[in-house]
């Protein structure tokens, strides 16, 4: 067991976790934050993407024990009284169907916009598609996800 304390969605979260506990399990089973999903076991689908210290990571491929002192944001932590512009954009552009990959798409979308804005680069449609390499959606065909992220980039 490793004792770990992190900040999740602005609140302190601690626990004694077995060494092998993945962040995705810690979030889903210990904290019952079930918005973070797991859709594969080879770190490819991206349904589990959360932010650790402001950067997108695959929570199924990070040990909870390694995140002592880290700041974690999940899809549940985005709306602050009102919806995050990325959440609004996904609704406005029909960027989701079954909703299962959506939390990961939203978290990856925000991350890519933050990075592109920080570097002063333009987030083109092609760039969005390339940046989504680690997020798989089976419903939307990506068309409206690309539109959603582009829309959100304009309002973030």
């Amino acid at each position: 067991m490793t004792s770990v304390t992190m900040t999740v969605n602005g609140k302190a979260a601690s626990g004694d976790v077995p060494g092998e506990t993945l962040l995705s399990d810690f979030l889903r089973e210990h904290l019952r934050l079930t918005g973070t999903h797991v859709g594969c076991d080879t770190s490819q689908c991206g349904a589990c993407v959360v932010h650790v210290d402001g950067k997108a990571v695959k929570s199924c491929t990070v040990l909870a024990a390694s995140l002592d002192g880290a700041e974690v944001t999940t899809v549940e932590g985005l709306a602050n009284g009102e919806l995050h512009p990325m959440q609004v954009a996904f609704n406005e552009n029909h960027g989701l169907q079954c909703g299962f990959c959506t939390p990961g798409m939203i978290m990856s979308g925000i991350d890519m916009i933050n990075r592109y804005k920080a570097e002063g680069k333009e987030l083109t449609d092609d760039a969005i598609r390339h940046e989504l390499e680690g997020n798989i959606c089976r419903c939307t065909g990506y068309h409206n996800i690309v539109r959603s992220i582009k829309d959100a980039a304009a309002s973030m």
Partner: protein
């Protein structure tokens, strides 16, 4: 996953001690390969030793024409590093193309080369650049380091601390991705140095990353994409799987080599 003990030592000495005290220790640097392997029960270490808490492990610094990259520097850090960019932009570009953005935020250069996956990108870059791998015990030339598929010159308890890369004259990496995994199905890194051309190929060889003599000779004499045309690339020793036959991989080595040389200028 099987049960595992997690350690986060603050020094190399503590890390070495933790490794020595474990039944079977694995070093955790970014975990982007180790953890998926453990999840599938293909690896079952008793202990993982997280080296990211050791001072200096993520530093990147330039001295003269050489950049020293800490073993726990993430792919994103290398990709965005002005230091790496000033010495070898081709290596920064290689790092920017590893995995996907979330993987690049966690995966590290040390983890990548210690694992020496036959489809990893860094081994091609470091081998072609003639990099030096620095461990807690010694310095190892890349030519000596990559010894075969998933195997390296590292000894038990030996920890990579940094990688030294000196500026090449020209360099570039061209990768053909496996459509499914997006790992390199063929990746060719070309570097023009004072001693001639170095060409390293990843994703294709049955024994992992390798240098290609024929391409090096041709490019050493004539650094141009056209020089690649005359080179015979044999399919012997290349992997065959459902995604690509050895013949197709041999063909792609030439195409990627040409594109890399063209990109290097």
């Amino acid at each position: 996953m099987y049960a595992v003990n997690y350690h986060k030592p603050a020094s190399i000495e503590d890390a070495v001690a933790a490794i020595g005290g474990a039944d079977e220790a694995k070093i955790l640097a970014g975990g982007q390969t180790l953890l998926p392997t453990m999840k599938q029960h293909l690896a079952a270490p008793s202990d993982v030793i997280d080296i990211r808490g050791i001072g200096g492990m993520t530093d990147i610094a330039v001295r003269g024409d050489t950049v020293t990259i800490g073993a726990a520097a993430t792919h994103a850090a290398v990709a965005g590093s002005n230091e790496v960019g000033s010495v070898c932009p081709a290596l920064a570009a290689l790092a920017a193309g590893i995995g996907d953005p979330a993987v690049r935020h966690m995966g590290t250069i040390g983890g990548s080369i210690a694992n020496n996956d036959p489809a990893a990108d860094y081994p091609a870059g470091l081998l072609a650049l003639g990099a030096t791998i620095v461990t807690n015990n010694r310095e190892i030339a890349a030519d000596e380091f990559f010894t075969g598929m998933f195997t390296t010159a590292l000894e038990d308890g030996e920890i990579i601390t940094a990688i030294n890369v000196s500026a090449p004259g020209k360099a570039a990496y061209a990768k053909f991705r496996n459509p499914a995994s997006r790992y390199a199905m063929v990746g060719v890194f070309v570097a023009k140095t004072g001693d001639g051309a170095r060409v390293a190929v990843t994703g294709a060889g049955e024994d992992g990353v390798f240098r290609h003599d024929g391409l090096e000779q041709a490019l050493g004499t004539n650094w141009s994409p056209d020089a690649v045309d005359a080179v015979a690339v044999s399919a012997d020793g290349l992997m065959s799987d459902i995604h690509a036959s050895a013949d197709y991989r041999a063909h792609l080595i030439k195409v990627m080599a040409k594109r890399a040389v063209a990109a290097a200028g």
